[in-house]
C-alpha cells in the first residue's frame, strides 16, 4: 500500500511537469498553429539558465529569471524563424523547423554545459520531508505542485479577465476576424509564443530540482505532453492539464505492479481515448477533424 502511494505520488509529480509542458504547448498550438517540437528545448534552456544564475540570484531569483529568459529567447526565435512561415498553410513546415531547432538546442546545451548530468540545488527549507512516514512527500514536491497550480490559475485569470487574454482567446477562435477588428495578431502571436516558452522554462527549473539536469531532459518530457494534449483534447487548456496529471498518475500506479510498462501505458491510454472519444476528453467538435 505504501509502495503504491509512493509511486502514485511520484507519478503525480511527473504529471505536474507534463501538465506544465502541455499547457505551454497547447497555448502555442492553439493560437500559433505550431506544434512546437522545440518545446523541450525551451525547457532545457530555462533549466540550465536557472542553474547558471543560482550562484548570483539564489534559487528564488533563478526560479523567476530562468523561465522569463526562456520566454525572451522564445520571443526572439518566434520573430526570426517562426513568423516568416505563418503564411504557409501546411503545418509540416513549422513542425520541421522547430524539430531542427530542438536538435540545435540540445546539441548546444551539450557543448556549453557538458553531456553529464548536473544537480540543481534546492534550498533546505523546502527540501525536507514533510512527514516521517511518507518520506517521499518532500516540501519541494509540494512546492512544485503549488507553483504549478499558481501558474495555471494565473494563466486562467489572464485569459479570462485581461484584454490581452480576451484577444488571445478570440484569436484561437477566429484569427481572421480578430485581425479584422484591429488587433495586431503578429504581436499577439509573438506574446503567446513567449508565454508558452515561459511555461516550458518553468517546467524545466522545477523538474531539474527533482530529476537533475541533462541535455536531453526535454525530449523525455515532450512526448508525454503531446499525449496529455491528445487525451485532454486539442483546443482545451484545462484538458491539457488534466491529461498531464492523469497520465502521470497512471504511469506511477503501473510502476508499482508492472514497471516495464510504465511508459507504454501512457500511449495505451491515448489509444483507448482515441477509440472511445476521438476528440479527447474536452476537445471541441470539428477542430482538426
Amino acid at each position: 500500500m505504501e509502495l503504491l502511494l509512493f509511486n502514485a505520488f511520484n507519478g503525480l509529480i511527473q504529471g505536474v511537469f507534463y501538465a506544465l509542458m502541455a499547457l505551454g504547448l497547447a497555448l502555442i498550438l492553439s493560437l500559433n498553429s505550431v506544434i512546437n517540437m522545440a518545446h523541450g528545448g525551451f525547457l532545457v534552456i530555462g533549466a540550465y539558465l536557472a542553474y547558471t544564475l543560482i550562484p548570483y540570484l539564489g534559487f528564488w531569483g533563478a526560479l523567476i529569471v530562468g523561465p522569463v529568459l526562456a520566454g525572451v529567447i522564445g520571443l526572439i526565435v518566434e520573430r526570426i524563424l517562426i513568423r516568416p512561415i505563418y503564411k504557409r498553410v501546411d503545418p509540416i513546415y513549422s513542425l520541421l523547423l522547430t524539430f531542427g531547432l530542438a536538435l540545435i538546442i540540445e546539441d548546444m546545451t551539450r557543448t556549453i554545459w557538458g553531456p553529464q548530468g548536473l544537480p540543481l540545488e534546492v534550498p533546505d527549507i523546502i527540501n525536507s520531508p514533510v512527514s516521517e512516514v511518507y518520506f517521499f512527500i518532500t516540501g519541494y514536491r509540494l512546492f512544485v505542485m503549488g507553483v504549478t497550480a499558481a501558474a495555471a490559475i494565473g494563466l486562467y485569470l489572464l485569459l479570462r479577465y485581461t484584454l490581452l487574454g480576451i484577444r488571445i482567446r478570440a484569436g484561437i477562435r477566429d484569427l481572421e476576424t480578430t485581425a479584422a477588428l484591429g488587433v495586431n495578431i503578429y504581436k499577439l502571436r509573438a506574446l503567446n509564443f513567449g508565454f508558452g516558452c515561459i511555461f516550458a522554462g518553468l517546467a524545466g527549473v522545477l523538474a531539474a530540482g527533482v530529476l537533475g539536469l541533462t541535455p536531453p531532459m526535454g525530449n523525455s518530457l515532450i512526448m508525454p505532453s503531446f499525449v496529455a494534449i491528445i487525451i485532454g483534447g486539442v483546443g482545451s487548456l484545462f484538458g491539457a492539464v488534466l491529461g498531464g496529471l492523469i497520465i502521470g498518475l497512471a504511469a506511477g500506479v503501473v510502476t508499482t505492479y508492472y514497471p516495464a510498462a510504465s511508459e507504454a501505458v501512457i500511449y495505451l491510454m491515448m489509444l483507448i481515448v482515441l477509440v472511445v472519444r476521438p476528440r479527447g476528453l474536452f476537445g471541441e467538435e470539428g477542430l482538426f477533424e
Binding site: S33, G100, V234, A260, A264, L271, P278
Partner: protein, 314 residues
C-alpha cells in the same frame, strides 16, 4: 521519353554503384543505406506528399520491420526471405490496425497522433529487453545466403551481393508504388490532398483512402526496415525513434514531396551529409538542425522544386 531516359540512366548508375562509389571515397554499405532509406521515404511520401497526411511517426513501422526481421533470424529460422516477409507483415499490419485511429484526423492532429503511436512501439522495444535487447538493441543475428535451387547468392559474406538484393527490393517497391499512383487509387489520393471536402461531397469515402495510404506506406516502410536490419545485422530502438521519423520527413522535403523520385534525391543529400558531418565534427546535430531550418525557410519545395521552378520560368 526524357523521363524514361533519365530513369534508365539512374538505374545504370545504381547498378554500377559498387564499382564507382569506392573510387570517390564512399563505401557500398552507404549505397545500400541510401536505397533502403529511399524505399522508406518514398513509401512515406505516399501518405505525406500524395495523400496530404502528415505522418510524423513513420520510423515506428521501419523499426517494427527491422525488429521483425531480426527476431525471425535470431529466434525463428535462418532464412533471409522469411525474415523479410515476417518483418514486412509485422510493420505493415501494425499500420493497418492503427490506421483507423489516425485516418479521421487532419493536419496537426494527424501528426501528433502518429508521433505518439510511434513512441508506444519505441518503449515496447526498450522495455521488453529480454527479447529485444532493450536500450542496447537487438544483435546476434546475421543475414543468410539465399538459395535459388542449386545457385547460392552469398549475401551474408558479400556487401556487394547484399547491395544488389537491396537494389532488387528498391526496384520492386518503386514499381509497385508507380503502378498504384497511376491507378484510380493513386489519383484519388492526390484529389484528397488537393481538396478533401470536395471529395467527400462527391461521395468518396475519404477516410478509407487515407487508411489505405497509411497501410500501404506502413508495409513499404517496414520492408525497408527489414533490409536495414540485415544491412547492419543489428537494430536498435533508435530505428523507431521520432528523431528518425523527423529525418524521414526532412529527407522528403529536401528532395521535393510532390515528385515521385524526390525522396531519393533528399535521401542521397541527407545521408551523405550526415555521414560526412558526423565524421568531421562532434556538433553534427547542430548542423543537421541548421539544415532543417534552412530548408524550411529557404527551399520549402526541395531540390527538385528549385529545378522545376526554373523549368517553369523558361
Amino acid at each position: 521519353m526524357t523521363r524514361l531516359i533519365s530513369v534508365g540512366v539512374m538505374w545504370i548508375i545504381l547498378i554500377l554503384l559498387p564499382w564507382w562509389l569506392p573510387m570517390i571515397g564512399g563505401y557500398t554499405a552507404l549505397g545500400s543505406k541510401v536505397l533502403i532509406y529511399a524505399i522508406a521515404t518514398m513509401g512515406l511520401n505516399l501518405v505525406l506528399g500524395f495523400t496530404g497526411g502528415l505522418s510524423f511517426g513513420q520510423a515506428a513501422y521501419f523499426g517494427l520491420g527491422a525488429y521483425g526481421a531480426g527476431m525471425t533470424l535470431k529466434y525463428l529460422a535462418l532464412s533471409t526471405p522469411l525474415a523479410i516477409l515476417i518483418g514486412t507483415l509485422v510493420g505493415g499490419l501494425a499500420a493497418t490496425i492503427l490506421g483507423p485511429l489516425v485516418m479521421r484526423r487532419r493536419g496537426i492532429y494527424f501528426a501528433m497522433i502518429t508521433i505518439a503511436i510511434g513512441q508506444l512501439f519505441y518503449f515496447v522495444m526498450v522495455r521488453w529487453n529480454n527479447v529485444t535487447g532493450g536500450e542496447d538493441g537487438l544483435a546476434g543475428f546475421g543475414r543468410q545466403d539465399i538459395h535459388l535451387g542449386p545457385a547460392v547468392i552469398p549475401i551474408s559474406s558479400s556487401g556487394d551481393a547484399f547491395y544488389y538484393l537491396v537494389l532488387l527490393g528498391f526496384t520492386v517497391a518503386v514499381a509497385i508504388m508507380w503502378v498504384i499512383l497511376q491507378s484510380p487509387l493513386g489519383h484519388t489520393w492526390v484529389a484528397i490532398r488537393e481538396n478533401r471536402r470536395r471529395m467527400e461531397f462527391l461521395g468518396i469515402r475519404v477516410e478509407r483512402y487515407v487508411w489505405a495510404a497509411f497501410a500501404i506506406a506502413g508495409f513499404i516502410t517496414a520492408f525497408a526496415g527489414t533490409l536495414n536490419a540485415m544491412l547492419f545485422n543489428f537494430t536498435s530502438p533508435q530505428d523507431l525513434h521520432w528523431i528518425l521519423s523527423g529525418n524521414f520527413v526532412i529527407m522528403i522535403i529536401l528532395g521535393g514531396m510532390r515528385s515521385f523520385f524526390g525522396p531519393l534525391i533528399g535521401v542521397i543529400i541527407f545521408v551523405v551529409a550526415q555521414d560526412y558531418l558526423s565524421s568531421v565534427t562532434g556538433n553534427w546535430m547542430t548542423f543537421i538542425g541548421m539544415i532543417f531550418v534552412c530548408i524550411v525557410l529557404l527551399f520549402p519545395r526541395g531540390v527538385l522544386g528549385i529545378f522545376n521552378r526554373r523549368a517553369e520560368a523558361i
